[in-house]
């Protein structure tokens, strides 16, 4: 047993706070020369405690050294092979389009990498699957957009909106980053489902492997296999809502869209209508608010809301009026 243990624990937070303060000083100095008063404040701060001086030295080291990244702009131009325009996918046949991204010299290329990326979209009702040059496979659900930025050091995919399933090929020396909303996820291998729809929180599910998520507030949240996490606005929705484990049979229904299906499990008709609205077909409406609150379970063709409406009408004893403009479900 360490008698001094508690004293050390009390100081642990301080070390990080000191680093943070040192970074603030270095950033201030980076903006403009210090005023006399500021210089005095800095001198007295670094004289206060050797740890302050040590942290400040490291902050200055980072500040000056990172300017060497300017040398990276001398890297050769990145050329991104243009992706073959993939035809609209049938629901079942997912095309494996291949993206060739030319690897660059080891001079790195933080700069080039910011400018060049490959954008991949899906239209309404379309799902599609692409294979990246490292062997990773990304499947996009309907109305989704990603940007792929690869270089020799880092593999990065940005989910702008929609939903993607990412099967990350293992590359120990090349971390895979997934960015969505305000979060950055880092992994080396695994299968991950990431969903970012307009007003909903960011939803991250790990089907295989593990990842580490860093929110915009620098919270570090590790996710292991079969966990799911919802983040709203870069924060966990509520402090008690950390990652939760996925129920055993949930994974299959979460992935039903890959086969052109929508799976519901005791979901309200309102929720189902919202999901169908992201695919082709007439919008589903309800004659009376209580109808939308009825619940349904089952697997349906995503681009055939009419068939869904007929099935629902039959099992819940509702009336379905189906036209090309809209589908109306109301009490019989």
């Amino acid at each position: 047993m360490h008698v001094t243990g508690e004293g050390f624990m009390a100081e642990t937070g301080t070390a990080e706070a000191i680093d943070r303060q040192a970074a603030v000083w270095a950033a201030r100095l980076d903006r403009a020369p210090l005023t006399e008063a500021e210089q005095q404040a800095l001198d007295s701060w670094t004289a206060d405690d050797p740890r302050h001086l040590g942290a400040y030295a490291k902050a200055r080291a980072v500040a000056l050294h990172s300017k060497r990244a300017a040398g990276l702009t001398a890297a050769p131009q990145v050329t991104v092979a243009s992706q073959n325009e993939a035809p609209r996918m049938s629901r079942r046949a997912l095309l494996a389009a291949s993206i060739g991204v030319v690897s660059l010299g080891s001079a790195g290329l933080a700069a080039a990498y910011l400018r060049k990326f490959q954008r991949i979209d899906t239209a309404r009702g379309e799902t599609r699957s692409v294979t990246l040059d490292d062997g990773s496979v990304i499947s996009l659900n309907t109305l989704s957009r990603i940007e792929v930025r690869f270089n020799q050091d880092v593999r990065e995919v940005v989910l702008k909106f929609g939903e993607v399933l990412i099967d990350v090929a293992t590359r120990r020396d090349r971390p895979f980053l997934i960015r969505a909303a305000n979060a950055t996820m880092t992994t080396q291998s695994g299968i991950f489902l990431v969903k970012r729809l307009d007003a909903s929180p960011l939803q991250v599910t790990t089907l295989k492997g593990a990842l580490q998520l860093v929110s915009d507030q620098d919270q570090v949240i590790p996710l292991s296999a079969n966990q799911t996490l919802a983040l709203g606005d870069g924060r966990i929705v509520s402090p008690s809502a950390g990652p939760t484990f996925l129920e055993a049979d949930r994974a299959a229904s979460l992935l039903a869209w890959r086969d052109g299906k929508l799976a519901f499990h005791d979901d309200t008709l309102n929720a189902a209508a919202i999901q169908f609205s992201r695919f082709r077909g007439a919008p589903i409406q309800f004659g009376g608010g209580e109808v939308g609150r009825l619940r349904i379970t089952g697997l349906f063709e995503a681009n055939d809301p009419a068939a869904f409406a007929r099935a629902v009408a039959h099992s819940l004893n509702l009336r379905a009026e189906i036209s090309s403009k809209r589908i109306l479900l109301s009490q019989a």
């Binding site: 360490h2 642990t12 970074a23 903006r31 050294h65 790195g108």
Partner: protein, 196 residues
């Protein structure tokens, strides 16, 4: 006490790449001592050494400095755990520290830097790249991105802080599951919900 540019660049180029190894070694031998504090103490010593021209094996020098900082820190505690002292005594500078690795560090330096910058949060990275790679002043960045100057400065500070942490973790070894800070954050984030 100031920090000269020359010394800061020496720290970044020659010393900091060894920080993960020194941390790992400290954690092994001195479980109770706060590694973060020792590392900061060690940097303070490295920045106050009057002359670094005689230091040929920087890695071994960093290890020795950290060891002596750890011992001094223990001595300053009013109550010292006996096994902590024993641990420190067992903390011999590892053999591989005697082999100069400065060459290797030089080759990997830019690559490591590019990787660290790439992992910054999006907005912070955008501003940091304008600052470091495009060489814009904070004032110019503020104008170009229509962001208040104070916000630009905050993002630069955040980038510095994250890069400092990245050096502590060792940018080569991702994912960074083992870093000390993780354990701290995990506690903060999960608040004992049982899934951490």
């Amino acid at each position: 006490m100031g920090v000269s540019d020359e010394r800061a660049l020496w720290l970044a180029g020659k010393v900091m790449p060894h920080e993960p190894a020194v941390r790992a070694w400290l954690r092994r031998g001195a479980a109770s001592a706060d590694v973060d504090d020792i590392i900061q103490d060690a940097y303070a010593r490295l920045v106050t050494v009057p002359d670094i021209s005689g230091i040929t094996n920087v890695r071994a020098y960093f290890f020795r400095t950290a060891r002596s900082a750890a011992i001094d820190r223990l001595r300053r505690q009013s109550v010292v755990a006996i096994d902590a002292v024993a641990d420190i005594d067992r903390l011999q500078v590892p053999l591989d520290a005697v082999t100069p690795e400065d060459e290797v560090v030089g080759r990997n330096e830019l690559r490591l830097l590019a990787q660290m910058i790439a992992t910054l949060p999006e907005k912070t990275r955008r501003i940091f790249v304008l600052s470091r790679i495009s060489g814009l002043s904070q004032k110019e960045i503020a104008r170009q991105t229509a962001t208040p100057e104070s916000t630009v400065e905050k993002h630069i500070a955040k980038a510095f802080h994250l890069l400092m942490a990245a050096y502590a973790d060792g940018g080569y070894d991702v994912p960074r599951a083992s870093r000390v800070r993780d354990a701290r954050n995990r506690r903060r984030v999960h608040g004992g919900d049982g899934h951490g």
